[in-house]
């Protein structure tokens, strides 16, 4: 599974303050922790930080780029903002792969953002919703997802660069929606061969829930079984990542060994303790 790190988000007070004050240390320390946990893509969201959001994004991207060359996901619900941010970040960091997070399947949003993805060679996350809002069922999710996949392909975006987000809602507010997400992934996986990638914003499922971390890792495993390929998560949550790795072993995506967690870390060049050599 591709791990998008969720922690560099202006919704967190420490990140918001660091962005406004241009405090690199705070950002880079958080980024290092996410990377040490196994993050593959750094999701960046300036949130409600006061000031020029475009400049905030460029600064945040440059700051994170100083500690990693992993892809950066630029996260905002505002299409007009992303239209400005993505080309600016691409200009500042031409060698960095970008992910546009996200775009709905409403024609006027796709018309704005798909050309940006093409011109910046960026991947893009399509939400399974349109101008009518978040669907309350499976069918509309599949319809929106299929529309997004086909429209993105028509624009020339390679299937490997297309992510579909079936939109996770909190279990305490919408208890049937979790099953709809899983079913939508199953159905959308057969819309195109090869399928696009499927991604969720995992912590949405447990918003304001007491047992949030348990819910997160349980739901992640359920979605992996349906074919999830990526998730925006706290990569520093060891239990979550261990559950994810275990699921991938059980699904046959990773080869089992007794030290399979350690093996997974070794594959990614993450630190694992070496014993001294004796001759």
């Amino acid at each position: 599974m591709i791990i998008f790190s969720e922690r560099l988000n202006g919704m967190y007070r420490d990140v918001r303050t660091a962005i406004v004050e241009r405090n690199k240390d705070v950002i880079q320390e958080l980024a290092e922790k996410q990377l040490a946990g196994g993050a593959d893509v750094m999701d960046l969201n300036v949130g409600p930080a006061k000031g020029d959001a475009v400049e905030h994004f460029v600064w945040l991207a440059r700051t994170v780029r100083e500690v990693t060359d992993k892809p950066l996901s630029l996260d905002s619900a505002k299409a007009d903002l992303l239209m400005q941010v993505v080309p600016r970040v691409k200009e500042a960091l031409p060698d960095t792969k970008l992910v546009i997070n996200s775009c709905t399947a409403a024609p006027r949003y796709m018309e704005k953002l798909l050309p940006v993805a093409v011109s910046c060679d960026a991947a893009i996350i399509g939400l399974t919703m349109d101008q009518d809002g978040v669907p309350g069922n499976v069918e509309k999710r599949v319809e929106c997802g299929a529309t997004f996949i086909m429209t993105a392909l028509e624009h020339g975006i390679p299937i490997d660069d297309i992510y579909i987000d079936p939109i996770v809602l909190p279990v305490n507010a919408a208890f049937k929606q979790q099953q709809f997400v899983i079913e939508a992934i199953r159905e959308l996986a057969i819309v195109h061969d090869p399928p696009p990638k499927f991604i969720i914003g995992l912590s949405n499922v447990s918003q304001k829930c007491l047992m949030n971390r348990l819910l997160n890792r349980t739901f992640l495993v359920m979605c992996l079984t349906a074919g999830l390929s990526a998730a925006i998560v706290d990569a520093a949550d060891e239990e979550l990542i261990s559950a994810m790795i275990s699921a991938e072993v059980l699904l046959g995506k990773e080869l089992y060994s007794d030290d399979y967690i350690k093996a997974w870390r070794m594959q990614r060049g993450l630190p694992s303790e070496a014993e001294p050599v004796e001759v």
Binding site: A263, E275, V277
Partner: protein
């Protein structure tokens, strides 16, 4: 309608592992042999590269073998009490490397001391300029006493030493690393254990890129399919990016094939099976020719005709 493109895109690659060292590289070998390097399924050249065809080694024992059937006796009987002479014969027959087994150090097979093993290894190194694979006797205490001495004596020659196992890997890994040799990681018939052994060896600081996997071997008619499926699964994992399975593979085909009754029963015992002179080498060659398609990089063989036949099969598959 255009023909659909079935080519696979692989992200992984089998590690290239070079055995032997020429004088320019600090050794005395006349040539080196590189295993691995594949970027796709074996022999599917449209899928990925197979830059190095499987290497073929011939067996040399450090003392005259007991109970080897007629065809092997005809091929080596006149030289097999002298490992150096036997190695020269193997070279003449076209082996890419010499597979030397230190059987006589085994407590039940002579219990010869480390010094005797060192002498044998040095004699073989002087007799032929091919890269060398050297196996201990699979008794941990004895191998721990012998193999570091052998490794030291062969320093600079970039040999392949065997075999590190889950229960006994530290000494051999340390010796191989200290004296610059490659290492065989053995896990019998179990791909998950194979991955685990590689993790354990890697933990000692020995580089994963210098390992060769030995999943053990089974002959045609004796579970070859199981080994084949292990080869396949390992190769698919490696090509999909699992660096803990990206090691080239060695198979001990000659030893296994000649244990089978189909290969070793003489003409009197099996009058309906065709002459052993043909049947034995054919059994060995058939086993090898099947297994290379699962993904094997170094085959240890015994009979000269098996070597010839497998060489032809490898050449034909590589050209296809």
């Amino acid at each position: 309608m255009p023909f659909p493109d079935f080519r696979q895109k692989w992200t992984g690659r089998i590690n290239p592992v070079t055995l032997g060292a020429t004088p320019a590289e600090g050794g005395t070998r006349g040539r080196t042999v590189t295993l691995g390097g594949e970027t796709g399924i074996p022999f599917l050249n449209f899928d990925g590269e197979t830059p190095h065809s499987p290497a073929l080694g011939l067996d040399v024992l450090d003392q005259a073998p007991v109970g080897w059937p007629g065809p092997l006796q005809e091929a080596y009987g006149d030289v097999w009490s002298d490992p150096a002479a036997w190695a020269r014969r193997a070279r003449q027959l076209g082996a890419d490397l010499i597979n030397l087994r230190l059987l006589s150090i085994h407590p039940d097979e002579g219990d010869r001391p480390p010094e005797a093993a060192v002498e044998t290894v040095q004699a073989v190194l002087e007799a032929v300029d091919l890269p060398l694979v050297v196996w201990g006797c699979d008794v941990p205490e004895k191998d721990q006493a012998v193999m570091p001495k052998v490794a030291e004596a062969a320093q600079g020659e970039n040999c392949l030493l065997g075999a590190a196992t889950e229960g006994d890997y530290r000494t051999l890994a340390a010796a191989a690393q200290a004296y610059g040799h490659k290492l065989i990681a053995l896990a019998p018939c179990d791909i998950n254990r194979s991955k685990q052994v590689n993790i354990l060896i890697s933990d000692t600081g020995y580089p994963l890129t210098d390992l060769v996997i030995y999943p053990t071997t089974a002959s045609l008619g004796y579970g070859m399919e199981w080994i084949y499926s292990i080869l396949e699964r390992g190769r698919l994992a490696a090509l999909s990016g699992d660096r803990l399975m990206a090691q080239p593979v060695i198979l001990d085909v000659g030893y296994e094939a000649w244990r089978s009754k189909e290969a070793r029963s003489d003409d009197e015992a099996a009058p309906d099976w065709g002459p052993i002179a043909l049947r034995g080498p054919a059994w060995e060659a058939a086993t090898a020719a099947a297994l290379i398609q699962g993904g094997a990089d170094l085959l240890v063989l015994r009979h000269p005709r098996a070597l010839e036949t497998v060489r032809r099969a490898v050449t034909a598959l590589a050209a296809a």
